[in-house]
Structures are given as C-alpha cells and as structure tokens.
Symmetry: C2
Subunit: 413 residues, 2 copies
C-alpha cells in the first residue's frame, strides 16, 4: 500500500475540484433522498434523545417552518412518536453551519464541481441575532426564514440564472488576500459575493423596495457567503473521498454532542467522540458556563485547507476569537505539521504567499499528537438564545486514533 501516493491523489483531487455556485432550489427538489419528514442536521448521526439544546431547538423550528407541527409541544410529540426522521447533512451531500438543520422546503444552494462531476448543497445564511442555526425558533425567527425562502431565495435563484455560475474557489482565493480565513471571518468573501450578485439582482428584480432589502441584507451580513463556501468545501472534500488507502480526512463535523471525522480510504464510517467546548471570547453577559459543546458542519472549511488552517491570512480575526496576530500565524504553521500538501489555489500573503496547509493526515495527527485547529462560533447550550461568542477548538484526539485503528484493520497493516 503506497499511502503517500494515495494521499497525493486525494489531496490533488481536493485542490483541483472547482466549486461553481450554479443555482438554488428547494431542498426536496435537489438533495438526493430528501423527503418531507426528514430533517437533516450537522455532524455525525444522532438521535433526538442525545441531541443538545441548540440542535433540538433548530429541529423544532424546522418542523414549525414546514407546517408539520403547530407548536413546540406538537413538534416534540411527532418526534417522540417516531414520525420524524433524522440524518446528517453529510449523508445527503449537504452541509450546514451550527445546528445545520435543513428541511424539505428550504431553499438551498447547489454547488457543482465540473472537474469531478459531484454536487453539494447548503442552506441560506440567516445573518446574526436570533437564528435557527443557533436553535432559536420564535415567530421572529420563523418570519425571517419565510422571508428568506419567499423573497431572498427566489431573488438569488433568478440572479444566478443570469450567470454562468459563480466560481467560489476563485472568490475564496481572493478573500484570503483580504483578511478572511473563510470560516469565522468571511467579511471580504461576502462583499465579493455581493459584488458578483448585485448587477445580476438589479437585472431581475423589478420592485425597488425588495431589491434594496435584499442588497442590504446581503451586504450587512458578513456571513452571507459562508454557506456557499461550506458547500464549496464539501464538494472539494467529497472529490477527495473514497481514494483506496488514503489517510486524508474528508469530513470533520459536530452535532453539538459528538465530533466526527471521516477518512478518504475508510468509506462512510464516522469516528466519533464527545465534542469539546471552544475556548474564545464571549459576548458581554456570557461565559463558558453558557456554551454548548462544539457544533456545526463548518469544520468542512478546515477539512478543505481554509478556516483555522488559513488563520495566518486573517490577523484581524483575533479580535473576535482571542489571541494575537502571532498566534494566528502560529496556528497555520502548526497545521503544516499534520497535512499532506500546500494548497495550489489558496495562498496567504503574510506567509510569502505560501499555500494553505491542506489534507489532514490521520497518521500525522496521531503520531505528533497535534489535532486540527478550528475557528468557530459558540452557541448557547439552551435553544433559542443564539451565539454567545467565538473561539478556537480542537477535535478530540481519540477520533483520529479510532480512525487509525480502523485503517490498520481495514488494510491489514
């Protein structure tokens, strides 16, 4: 078994994938296997009784949004009666930030990868404040979701129809030269996204009020592009999945209870352990006592070589996640220790345009005892409260050890 060659194959596939945002559609129309009573969630598989507060809240919100339940009690009743099915977004080619809940009616982004022919999906970003992805499901939250599905989504869909698709890899490459790292800081990327969309939106929207509202929403939300970026990373990581003998990680995801990884050469198995609590800066009035365990599919960014791995590009992020600009540089430098390549397209000016560390090798993680560095938002542990901070987290070491054992067994080493 030539593991090095297998890993180079995997990472080259990851880097040569070309994520193009081509369209939007309701989840039920495009996500394979999506059905009306299915709720997709972030992270590895989990059942209701083990779900954390924010994930439960988001599931309840989705059932209310879909009109499947009338109130919280009805929603919980349906779930306990076994009428709702759950599956990881990852099992359906999708990813979602934080709770990552996607239900059948929700408008989703479609990312095509013309290089390898695969597809990935993500939902629309709700912006800041009380939002479903942090487990909130008040009427205000549902109203915003309805506006997103009824107004924002259709506008974006029509706008994209005027284009040949938006090249998200090129957008990310540019954003990394503008102080973003692509996970927790997407300020520049979201503006580049607005730049690409705004003339298209102008062409298709007749109502000036609607148009102003959509442009304002996209411009004010420094996470507008996060979801297409995550789906882009998913399409890149999936392109690297399934390479016989490869020890490269192709998914890292958290459901708020467990942290899971998948490995290119180990099929669709998840290796999981309890998720940790991020260390970082808390918004006024909150402390780590309020924090939920690490949650969300957004670690797909680190899986694809950006996010925490590209932190050297984003010195300003330390004001948000804690630390100093030197820590940000060191974070990236450390990640070179556990990866198999430097990205061909994602370069970092502060490191003399060196490519980002890409393709986590479970062997190196276990051997060196260095786990991946992740930038993340921090959710309140109770549903409905929302974001309480942002910080840094690492996956539990044991999931990489489990994966390496499974590898040894599978390949009889």
């Amino acid at each position: 078994m030539d593991i090095e060659a297998a890993n180079q194959t995997a990472v080259k596939r990851m880097m040569s994938a070309r994520p193009m945002l081509t369209r939007l559609a309701p989840a039920r129309e495009v996500i394979p296997g999506m059905v009306d009573n299915l709720v997709l969630h972030a992270g590895p598989p989990i059942e209701w009784d083990r779900m954390s507060g924010p994930l439960r809240g988001a599931v309840i919100g989705a059932l209310l949004f879909e009109g499947l339940a009338k109130d919280e009690k009805g929603a919980v009743g349906m779930i306990e009666a076994g009428e709702v099915e759950f599956a990881p977004c990852h099992h359906h080619g999708a990813v979602g930030p934080m709770a990552g809940v996607i239900s059948a009616s929700m408008e989703v982004y479609v990312i095509d990868n013309p290089t390898h022919g695969n597809q990935a999906y993500s939902n629309l970003n709700e912006g800041y404040g009380k939002v479903l992805r942090y487990g909130a499901y008040s009427e205000e939250v549902l109203d915003k979701l309805r506006w997103m599905n009824g107004t924002l989504g259709p506008v974006l869909r029509e706008a994209l129809e005027q284009s040949d698709g938006l090249d998200i890899r090129a957008l990310l490459a540019e954003a990394l030269h503008m102080g973003d790292e692509g996970h927790n800081r997407n300020k520049a990327g979201s503006l580049l996204y607005l730049k690409l969309l705004s003339p298209l939106i102008a062409k298709v929207v007749k109502d000036e009020g609607v148009e102003a509202e959509v442009l304002q929403f996209l411009g004010d939300n420094a996470l507008s592009v996060l979801n297409p970026v995550m789906a882009a990373c998913k399409v890149m990581a999936d392109a690297a999945h399934g390479v016989e003998g490869s020890t490269v990680v192709t998914a890292m995801a958290r459901n708020g209870t467990d942290f899971g990884v998948r490995v290119s050469g180990l099929g669709d198995d998840w290796f999981t352990a309890p998720a940790g609590i991020p260390e970082g800066l808390y918004f006024p009035g909150f402390t780590s006592e309020d924090a939920n365990a690490d949650i969300g599919d957004s670690t797909i960014t680190e899986t694809a070589g950006i996010g925490g791995f590209a932190m050297a590009s984003a010195p300003a992020i330390v004001a948000f996640v804690s630390g100093t600009p030197q820590d940000a540089l060191n974070t990236t430098l450390e990640m070179y220790e556990i990866t198999v390549a430097e990205h061909e397209h994602f370069t970092m000016p502060p490191l003399e345009f060196r490519g980002t560390p890409t393709g986590i090798d479970i062997r190196k993680v276990v051997e060196l005892g260095i786990t991946p560095r992740i930038n993340t938002g921090i959710a309140h542990k109770e549903p409905g409260v929302g974001q309480v901070g942002a910080g840094l987290v690492r996956p539990p070491k044991e999931i990489f050890e489990q994966a390496l054992f499974a590898y040894a067994e599978r390949y009889q080493l």
Copy 2:
C-alpha cells in the same frame, strides 16, 4: 516655540477630522473659485510649457470634454493664446489621482468634516484602461467621461441623498483590516463602498439596465473608492494645516514634473523639486524607459497616515508594486521614524493593531535622511497610453530641506 506641542495639535486635528461623503455636484457649483476656463491639475503649480505628457493629455481631454475646443489642435491653440487658466487642485480644496484634472462641468464628490467645518472635493474614478487621469483623450475616453457625468454621477448623487452621508474614516479603518493600504490597494474599501451604496442605488434607480451597469462598474473597479478616500485625506490634512509652529507636512503632491510639499506652520508655500521615477513592476511590454515622472495628488493618503505608511496592512500589494510582505512591514516600521503620532483610528492587524505612522515631521525627515515611502501607479510619459505599472517612490529630499530652511527663517530659529 514649542514645536512638539504644535505638532501634537496638528496631528490631533488630522486624526479627529471626520470625513463624511455627503453629496456630489458639478465642480462649478461647489469648488470655490471654479470657473469655466479653469483647469485644475495634480501637484504644485505648473504652466503648460513645463507640463509632462500625461498632464498635457488630460488637459486637452478636459477642454474637449467641456466643449471648449473641438480637437487637440484647437485645445493647444486656446492654451497657447492664454485662454485657459491652470491651478493646482490643492488651491481649491480638491485632489485628483494621477493628472488630477478637474474641469467645471465634472461631477465631484463633496467631503464634509463636521469636526472642523472644512470641505474637500475629488472627481469620479474612471477605472482601468485608457483614462483621462493617465493623459488619454480619445473619443472612447471622452465617452466614458460623458457616461460618468451623465449617468454614474447622477445615480451616486441621488443615492447619497438617501443617506446621512458615508463615513469614509470608518470605511478606511475597516479596509485596513482587509488587506488595503488605501492608496494603491483599495479593493476592500471599494467593496465596502459598494455595500453602502447598493441598497441606496436600488431605491433611486428605476431603469434596471442603468442600475446593473452602475453596480457592475462600481464593483469591477477596485479603485472606485480611491477618489472619496483622497478627498477624505485632504479634509483631514487640511484640518491640520495652519497650526503656528508646526513642522507637520499637510500636503504632498506631484504634477508629473515637480514634487511639492506644504507644511502646517508655513502657510500656503510649496517646496518643490523635480519628481522621480517610481521603482516597481511594469505591465508586459513596458519598462522604466516608458515611465513618466511621479504624478498625482494621491500622496495625500501618505500625508494622512495611510497608503505606503500603512503597507504593513496590505501584504498582498507586493504582487503589484514589487517586494516581499516583509518589505511591506519594514516600510511601515520605517515611517514611524519620521512621524509624530500613531493613528487613533487606523490600525494594522499584522502589527498587533498598532496605529499607522501619522504626521510627517520635516525635521525628522531631514535629520534622519529618511524620506516618505509612497505607493503609486506609474503613467506612460506620452499622453494617451495610460498606466504602465505600479511601484514605490520617495519624494526628493531637498524639498524637506527647503521647507526646514523656510521654517528656520519664518520662526527665526
């Protein structure tokens, strides 16, 4: 004479000035002293016979644009007959990039400084390619100017009327955290500008074609915000001008032949010497043989503590102006040697959020022999060709020596 105190007064005024972009209007309606046969230009005063190629070209273009002349020959005839007056933009509260030519009909930005009550002006940015500011005056160039004056300008004017003014200091502070330095790299700033403008534009423009065209133009032009930024720097520098006893530089400007500076405590005198040729990277097909001497009012950015002085914030710019990210850091560090303050509002993440070096002290320049570092575009020496590269330049040392002599004489030291 307490020079330190005078300099602190000057630089505090510079930093506390609050440039607000409030409106647009034709130059003749807002620029004090603007008359129909007056052509404003970049840099210190200069007459026709000493003007360089690109400035001559821009002057001819302005006369054609105004309809004062029918062709090049007619324009030159008018000038030689003494029918055209010339004055520096700086003498009329204005600034313009490269040739910096502003004529009476041109739409200009108005920047108000509510802190000190002064105003400054700049023209609209034409984008890349063949443009008046590089001395081009073909029909294509004039057509674009007509579109800018007839379509872009009115749209921006109406859009700004919907706002309370755009805070350009806040925009710059944010852009410096997104890889801009505010002079030669305004990528992030231009996107932030688009973000602020696009919902306003959506509200006021009825024609979707016009709207799409304007949004596309603003979004594609990574220099869209340069001109408001320059006027913002002018309003800040002017706020620091006229402080009795201050040795702080309040204007640096080049007309393509001479480089001139003004000093806070030395009234409206210019200290000038021949401008140098920038060192940098040339576009394919061009060399330093093609370069005009340094030109433009855009050095007002360095005067106000950004541009070359904030290069540490913009490591990606070295791909455009030459050098390495370490050189960019060193450039900023060197400028601390010749300045009197660290900016209160403009901070640089790569230097642990240190304020930019602000307020050039002519005493330090002369004593240490360190001249200011400037990021600049490079113009072809013949009119009509356009930009041939970008690079770094320093003003001639003797203008600071002249200023220091004048200071000694004026204050009898």
